[in-house]
Symmetry: C2
Subunit: 325 residues, 2 copies
DNA sequence: GTGAAAGCGCTAACAC
DNA sequence: GTGTTAGCGCTTTCAC
């Protein structure tokens, strides 16, 4: 079923069909109607590829996230979608389920399907390099090690420092952290946290850092671990809000009042944090800007426009105090 | 920058370049390396369109949602993505921001960019028909009026009846509803609710149904309205969980204990409902199945495979009791 | 107003 | 093992 079939059915040439379908000016009204009728009759549908070949206009950006149900990634995706829409770009969303094999399979396909890739990856830069032949890659929240790649940086150091200062100002000295357990080494956020507490002369003995999978349940379990090691903890800083919300729930189960018995501060500043009770204090990020910047940069790299400078590719965090601390 | 440039640069034919790039067998190792080097050097990137034109098409499905940040649509999208991945399909996500003009703009573009469209639309079937030339359309939670369209039906009548029976069993007689205010006419869920309360001989005077925008804040405002009209209300059923969660928050502000002073039941059964305090009781839907079924049906319609029967295109709801009622 | 010809960039056949 | 030929389906010249 091609334009040719429609042409034959309507008794005109292929070009005339094209004119009718694309609302071009130079065509007789009745001819146009006849062509349109024939096209509908036959259920004709132009090929996206043949069109794209001739009019390569729409650039498509692939957005890779480990879990769209995690509200952090939802917010990032939302920002990416909006930025893409504003620039007339398309976004194909891939959810890798946090699985290395899924991610590989995704990358293998993605290279032939989109013009650029942005998002969160578990694979090494070398792997990414190998499977994304030549197209721009924008990593979010991770430093690119391959010159071809670009990255959106998250600078939360000041925000974490604010958070710790706030806790210390309220008299807290026994502060724990619920870190993310995704990688063997400590997260960058843990390093910020360590430096911040050190500035207040607080020593962090082992056991003050519990590690959690990136989920609400994981956050709850991590708090339980921390409480087992240090029942006298009075405040916790969490790797992110999802983990912090798990801690909130677990604290309730332990009969701890928040913030009276236990102060909790998260990271990310998700909208979700305003729905829980008590509302979550958080080192807040403009999550939608993360997605939007990534799309903007990818978009520029694809079209060959001047890319954003490193200084413009940073999203900073700031403490948003609500009720939990 | 085409395959031709690479061929010239490497001193081979275009076909040999193609062989090297696509890992074909019949090619000399050193030639292959030379081609690969040349390609990398030149920053060559094959055209998706030219490839698509020649190779078996990957079908792409467009998923349209009014607001990806609304966790209901996130869950639907997640189900759609997973189903698509399982079948080797691509999903392009479009967020229309609940705006009629945005939706129209989206539809105008989408017709030329994807092979099928699924999702939630505000426009009439006639508009959709006009702007989606010939491609399959699958409406979620809405009855299609155009023969070309397909739909995923939500049957929550039994679930709502269960919910009302539960409330009545607990002694509630003054039950209000927080309906969605998206359309002028009452929602289908309101009709289910009306029938259910009528079965228990409860008359619904005006003012027992408050209408709310589909947001947490909207749910809060609607509860305030309802309380103003009927301060003696003891239970509310909400159009969906997002609205119900707003009601939960508003109840807290009014100093009402849930469920002691006010019982609350939502609709959808979102994961979010387990994060709030008290946990939300809800007429639960398999939201991810909604997205998955839509993709499955779209996929079949595109390839011409036998479509799912109407009986298979229904998602039923059932009461999930947690803490709020 | 309409049609014929010329590609867009790529790969599957078939030569050599 | 490598090159040549022939399209994939569409739109854009440029004739008529």
């Amino acid at each position: 079923m091609t334009i040719h079939d429609v042409a034959r059915s309507a008794g005109v040439s292929r070009q005339t069909v094209s004119r009718a379908l694309n609302d071009k000016a130079e065509i007789d009204g009745s001819t146009k109607q006849r062509v349109l009728d024939a096209a509908r009759e036959l259920g004709y549908r132009p090929s996206r590829f043949a069109r794209g070949l001739v009019r390569p206009e729409t650039t498509t950006i692939g957005l890779v996230v480990p879990d769209l149900l995690n509200p952090f990634f939802t917010e990032v995706a939302s920002g990416a979608l909006e930025a893409a829409r504003a620039r007339g770009r398309h976004v194909v969303v891939y959810d890798t389920a946090g699985d290395a094999e899924q991610e590989l399979a995704t990358l293998r396909v993605i290279g032939t399907q989109v013009d650029a890739v942005v998002g969160y990856f578990g694979r090494s830069d070398e792997d990414l390099d190998r499977f994304t032949p030549g197209i721009p890659v924008v990593l979010i929240g991770r430093e690119p090690r391959v010159p071809r790649f670009s990255g959106i940086a998250i600078d939360g150091e000041d925000g974490v420092r604010e958070a710790v200062a706030h806790l210390v100002g309220r008299g807290h000295r026994r502060i724990g952290m619920l870190d993310h357990d995704g990688r063997p080494e400590p997260s960058v956020r843990q390093q910020w946290f360590r430096r911040a507490v050190a500035e207040h002369g607080i020593a962090l003995a082992p056991g003050w850092i519990a590690r959690a999978p990136q989920s609400v349940d994981g956050g709850g379990a991590a708090l339980a671990t921390l409480l087992a090691a240090h029942p006298d903890v009075t405040a916790v800083f969490a790797f992110n809000d999802v983990i912090a919300i798990g801690a909130l729930r677990e604290a309730r189960r332990f009969g701890l009042r928040v913030p009276a018995d236990l102060a909790v501060i998260g990271f990310d500043g998700l909208a979700l944090g305003t729905l829980v009770e008590p509302e979550l204090s958080s080192v807040a990020l403009d999550t939608r800007a993360l997605g939007a910047l990534a799309v903007e940069q990818a978009s520029r790299l694809v079209t060959g426009a001047a890319p954003l400078e490193p200084g413009e590719l940073i999203v900073r965090a700031a403490l948003h105090l609500r009720e939990s601390a």
